[in-house]
């Protein structure tokens, strides 16, 4: 059992109260989150030795981000302090036909302006078992892309398993640039996690035409995509999350896993949404937990999907659930009966 290291940005999230629009907000709820930080918190909740690596300014706002991570048991000793600012995202919660709205103000953050010499990956991966990051990190800046490449190389060398959540963000880079940068990085990865659109956006990987019905991919289509990913990058696993966006209040949720040989399909959940930010991250964390804890592939997938289903009922970016709570749902009790 070794360290699980995640690397990326943690941002200050500013959100109007309840269903208020930005124009109505007189106060913003204060939450900290980011793809990889969210994964680290989940893993700490599952009693894994989770480390989050980033760069944060020396001021009080940077310290608040550190404190939130510490509160949930993430080890913050590897965080570099310096630079000018904590990245921000403003997040307005949608309802019914009105979508949630995210405004990013993350340029010039400490991590976006970090330098390669800020991180000593050899030391960081000392005693590590797993390394996880998302496609957001190399998109932050050219230097961040270079740092990420250094990180995966060092991880590979140290025998650390590497997972990446493709997480394409069009505000950060073009599909062309993403494809080029990620193409280089994913070569070193063992596990790729993607939502139903990422593979095409980042790598142009599409299912065969016959696998499309009524505009949507069929299960066969997703298998086809998963297969292409595994083959192109020589992966151990590809996992694809499947979100059905019925409205801002209601979503369907399931996922599939491909281990290069067999396909696994999860249960599907109908979710009333409390907060869907971090839904994908909580899936990734659940999968990492399952794969590092001796679960079968099917069980790891069900754990990951149940975990991320629960995330949608929790405010904030972090998935504050216990192994026990996830297991109860994964094993079939979705009745929501009061636990006394």
């Amino acid at each position: 059992m070794g360290k699980i290291v995640t690397f990326g940005e943690i941002m200050l999230r500013l959100a109007p109260v309840g269903f208020e629009r930005f124009a109505q907000a007189r106060e913003f709820g204060v939450v900290y989150g980011g793809g990889e930080a969210n994964v680290a918190v989940s893993l700490a909740n599952y009693n894994k030795e989770a480390y989050f690596v980033t760069k944060l300014p020396k001021n009080e706002i940077g310290q608040c981000a550190v404190n939130e991570l510490r509160k949930y048991g993430v080890n913050t000793n590897l965080i570099v302090r310096g630079g000018d600012r904590v990245g921000i995202y403003y997040c307005e919660k949608g309802a019914s036909q009105r979508p949630s709205k995210v405004i990013y103000d993350r340029s010039h953050s400490s991590i976006a302006e970090a330098k390669r010499e800020d991180f000593n990956w050899k030391e960081i991966f000392n005693g590590a078992e797993w390394f996880h990051f998302t496609g957001i990190t190399p998109a932050l800046s050219d230097e961040c892309a270079a740092i990420t490449l250094e990180a995966v190389k060092a991880a590979k060398e140290a025998g650390v398993t590497i997972s990446v959540d493709l997480n394409y963000r069009k505000k950060l880079w073009s599909t062309e640039k993403a494809g080029k940068v990620m193409g280089e990085i994913v070569k070193y990865c063992d596990v790729v996690i993607a939502n139903e659109e990422d593979a095409e956006k980042v790598f142009g990987i599409k299912a065969d035409e016959t696998d499309i019905t009524g505009g949507h991919l069929s299960d066969e289509g997703y298998k086809n995509v998963a297969k292409q990913l595994v083959e192109r990058f020589d992966l151990k696993y590809t996992a694809i999350t499947l979100r059905e966006s019925i409205s801002a209040s209601d979503n369907g949720w399931s996922a599939m896993l491909y281990d290069g040989k067999d396909f696994f399909k999860s249960r599907r959940y109908d979710m009333h949404i409390v907060d869907r930010v971090g839904g994908g991250d909580s899936f990734g964390a659940g999968l990492i937990y399952g794969l590092t804890s001796g679960y079968s592939n099917q069980a790891a997938l069900e754990f990951a999907v149940a975990a991320s289903c629960l995330k949608h009922t929790i405010e904030g970016d972090f998935n504050l659930v216990s192994i026990e709570e996830v297991e109860t749902l994964a094993k079939g009790d979705a009745s929501g009966r009061v636990q006394r």
Copy 2:
């Protein structure tokens, strides 16, 4: 492109937090709203030159109402200041089988006690393109009825298009009195907006018997009502909103438009309700926007219905949405996917 003038009452709305009942309330959310003010705010959001005309006391509470209108870009220069009080309505939000509850405390407000000499309609309509009011305004007092009649006459004379939302309120007047007063006023109007009950309550206009199925009007029935309205008052348009009250939390929503020749039927939305007050007003505003912006009749109707669908997801009386957001929904994207 000229001024769009609306005239009526703006009230202080006092509402318990969340789903609290009045008996539980320790604080009241403070919002300002009223049929015509809500329309003015919508139109300002759509970049129209919106004016709201009313009378408000010179004290701080009156000023707060002015400030809220200014905040959203409504021109308040035509508001008369004087009188004793801002009208109030207490509003408790319902859920599931429990209906929302409104208690009015609007008697003796500045506008209810306004005098004809308070308003110089000739000046007010100088440069105006459209005039809108609701059936609530003439119901406030006999003098308000007289003022409204003066207003529509002046608008007619100035060549201003006139729309009225029938908006029958049984706490303010009887159906008999409403019919008599409104019968006189609507003669001057070009567009009548009504919900599924107003036409009968105000004017006794009912559909033919054959148009009723299972207690509800059929589409044919509504067409019949629309036709009668257009014919009786020589209107350019009649629009009817159709609310299906499944519960306090879920409603169906659609509308129809009749231009004296053709009938147009909108899409229908299944809505999870955040706040349904002002739903009808946001429809009226959407319709005025469409009709004054070169939209086709069908497009204007779809814009109006999509706009009011979104209103149901927004707290308060005002429909704080942009043209772009309405268009996205009107054009078919109701998936509620996060806008990043």
Copy 3:
């Protein structure tokens, strides 16, 4: 028309705001409630002369519990003051697949440590018409079991009708102990209220095998259970509430009543849940109201189910609804239309 006396514990309920988890809570909503206190408040709302009997410490927290009861019109003059503490329960609200979570901290409360001499039942039942308690009260301590037994004996002697809600709580006692203690007490009762599991857990009463379909009891099965209860304890009435736990956000709700001769089945409601704590208590109170107010059996049952359906839309333990509101729903208007 006499006093309706309820006897039990009233606790301080501490609940995170909205859908926050305990780990996120920076403030706890403060509410007071408990099975029998909830019934008393409902009955006071229905203009019954409701008394709540308990023991509360002399400090300010005890006084707060008294104040809340007084606020809603419950007579608190029979409450004994003394002992060390107000029992507490922490209550985290669930959503969708995430269940609500209750943590009890009720040991050593004033009522749990009360003594027989604290209560003079003869005086308490002077002028009383009905006595109600739940299976929680005798479970608090052996002394509480003894006090309850004294109470039912005194009530019987005074000719007071006695109702009990079985309300089995596994954290308080084993099924064995519950069966033994309650078996003695229920002998004195006239009305037993139970949910779909209580009869089996407390008394081992199960329906015949043939009455079970797909793991769930059929209507026939519940009738069978009701019949056994009535026969074993020579009851006037048995009522069984039927909760269908679709998720933490949505439940089905109905109930049945058996008067020793005829079975009555209520309407069934699909509920969006605001707060389901106290749902069963509000049913019991509705039933007592109906049975003491000359309602027919069917009408009393419909009143009870409609009342408890409304409870699910109200924050806190208490069911803050009026007779009129319950009647409107019981008579079929579940449309949730705004009451102006």
Copy 4:
């Protein structure tokens, strides 16, 4: 020990949060209060049998006012229900050099429009020991003045001791009218309570010129005023409260009592103000408590001043303190040390 009856208006108080100005308020704190209601709550806190008499509408807002009074133990059985509205006052809290601001919206309230036949004073005073009202009540309307006159006559006849707090409010009537109406009513009173300005404003009673130093009355001046009051109306007691308005945040506070023979002067307190509304009422209640509980004149005065000093540290109109807390301060412990 008999009933203590108070009669007047209870209003809904709407107050911005903390030190917000009206223009900044997004929610209003909800509190109920009014001169005589405040006195009733204090007396209930001191375990007196306190009744509050008024008229309130049958709607939920009227019920909220009743509930608040019940919560603190005031008997509300004599409250008449009917009429249109609960009077409102908006209250913005001042600080330092910025004064608090009160905007009244109390016209047309149920009590202001009450009729003489609404109240059966003979029954109301059955078993009563004391009757208290303020100069606000007869100022609400001519009918209210007539009702008050009937009340004092009935009280006199029933042998009930009568106290009045002059409480001149310039927004409600002129000094001329106040003088005329109150002159008639005070004839029946036994105790007059006034602040440093009331006597002159209502009755034109001024101290001799020699008693004024630097614009302020000397102690001798207040004695002179008290003497004139006692003599003109044949009173048992006159009490005068002395507020030194240093700023909106800091006040000095003391009082004097004259029993027709001796003068008593209280300690003086330097107060940091939390909420000064109801300060005078809490003095009146403290005095009534002392005079009905066998205190010496000096002790009753000290109790009244200490009670009202504590009121200034409590949010809302009501003085939520116990006898014990008042006694501790009255006996000299103003150190504010933590009570564990």
Copy 5:
């Protein structure tokens, strides 16, 4: 009476609730403010035709800043929309010996990255009477310094009176750079406002040694400084505010004005502080109001000091007071008595 134009940055202010430290904050109060925007709001409150010129992004956060200004009557038609972000400052309120703490995150804001071609000063000053800015604006970027220089030249040419508040901010530039840039700009100004340290920090202007007592400047010292400023820049007026920092909760406050001939000294206020941000800006606005409204020099100064004294009692950056309220204080009533 012409336009009063102010130019600078308006920021989003994020502040923990009450006296919470950053590390404790779970929500941030949302307020918008900035030196010149604060002045514009004050002037709009005083019924001046106030315009605020800046650049704000086209997103919702930029719109929120516009809305806040509109709410208080500032004309926002001259605001340029574009660029990336709204500048932010985090503001933690101090108390007693603990100072308030401000963390700036204002780099790369739309105004800091604005270009000269964004502003057409000739049009902006069309019909203008007065132009005001602070030393913060030219400190935002070299381009902002250039824009400001263009602005003062254009204002001069248009015959507009120009005032500047020196407002030295060490986080934005060095004293050397400030001196050089401001030296060029102030040449065009008519009125300089400064606090007790600005003149030395920006221009190295110190009082003669003999004017210093116990480390503090004497009145003579400030006169000496004012004289030097007027002489060096050929000013009409110099005003100096004098803050005595007793603690974070208590300050003394006064000011002096020099018109090139006579010195005027204001009253001095002892203030309990609610929020001291914007204190200096409210002084500047008060002075501009006085000087543009025919006040005598002494009266203008007293108005400015009274206005800014009141600002310290108001939450947020904006000074939400009326002319009447300022006049009442300036004329000597600092008693804080309730205004009913």
Copy 6:
């Protein structure tokens, strides 16, 4: 530099908002604190390797306490999990003449019912430099007294410096029992911290009569007490905090230190109080910090007093200040000027 170990209880603190009384509270602020936990948080803030030892239940409330400690950097790995409940204290904030009020509900907490075998002190003190506890811990139960005695013996043996804050609590034990138990424990201690009353209450140590003036001890008196303490228990240091309780809002604050040879007296602060709970603990932590960081005795004392002065301006039990902030105040800047 070794571990600093503290041992005691951490409680859930439930506090009404602002200056609300318990009877008004609709929510309780949630904070965790306790004498020794407060010290641990301070030391973690000062970058010391702080450990807190206690026993907490395995439920979510216990976890919340752990999370709060982790958030501020305290090492929680030595906390034992088990038992039934987290102790609670209710805390109502006083103002002016109204004292704060604390109601304890701490009996039967996990730590109060802990057993000696729960703690392996030898391991706990492995690598430790300092051990701190207060007189509250042995007062929790006889077993806690025994555990504390084991702890000090183990600490002594391990060469760890031991400090104790006498902290007498009359609700937990009598002065007689305290004297007996503490007399045994303090023998092993090196540093005793006490407030102005503790020494007499716990050990009956009084100053000579001649050292009392006007009811208060003179400086000489405190020296006398300190000397007796040092002599009786062979201490390295005694520190005495001196609180002057002017009112609940204002206190004077200073302290003295005696090292067996010289007396040191600190500066004195006039404090406006935000929250005084934890004031003494923050002094202890400051003193430990100074004494373990090479400060002179006078400097350590000044650091401790400045730190605790700042604590009074911070909400909650924890003193959330940095070394830098304390140093700034200790070195004389109490002006509260904004830190930008």
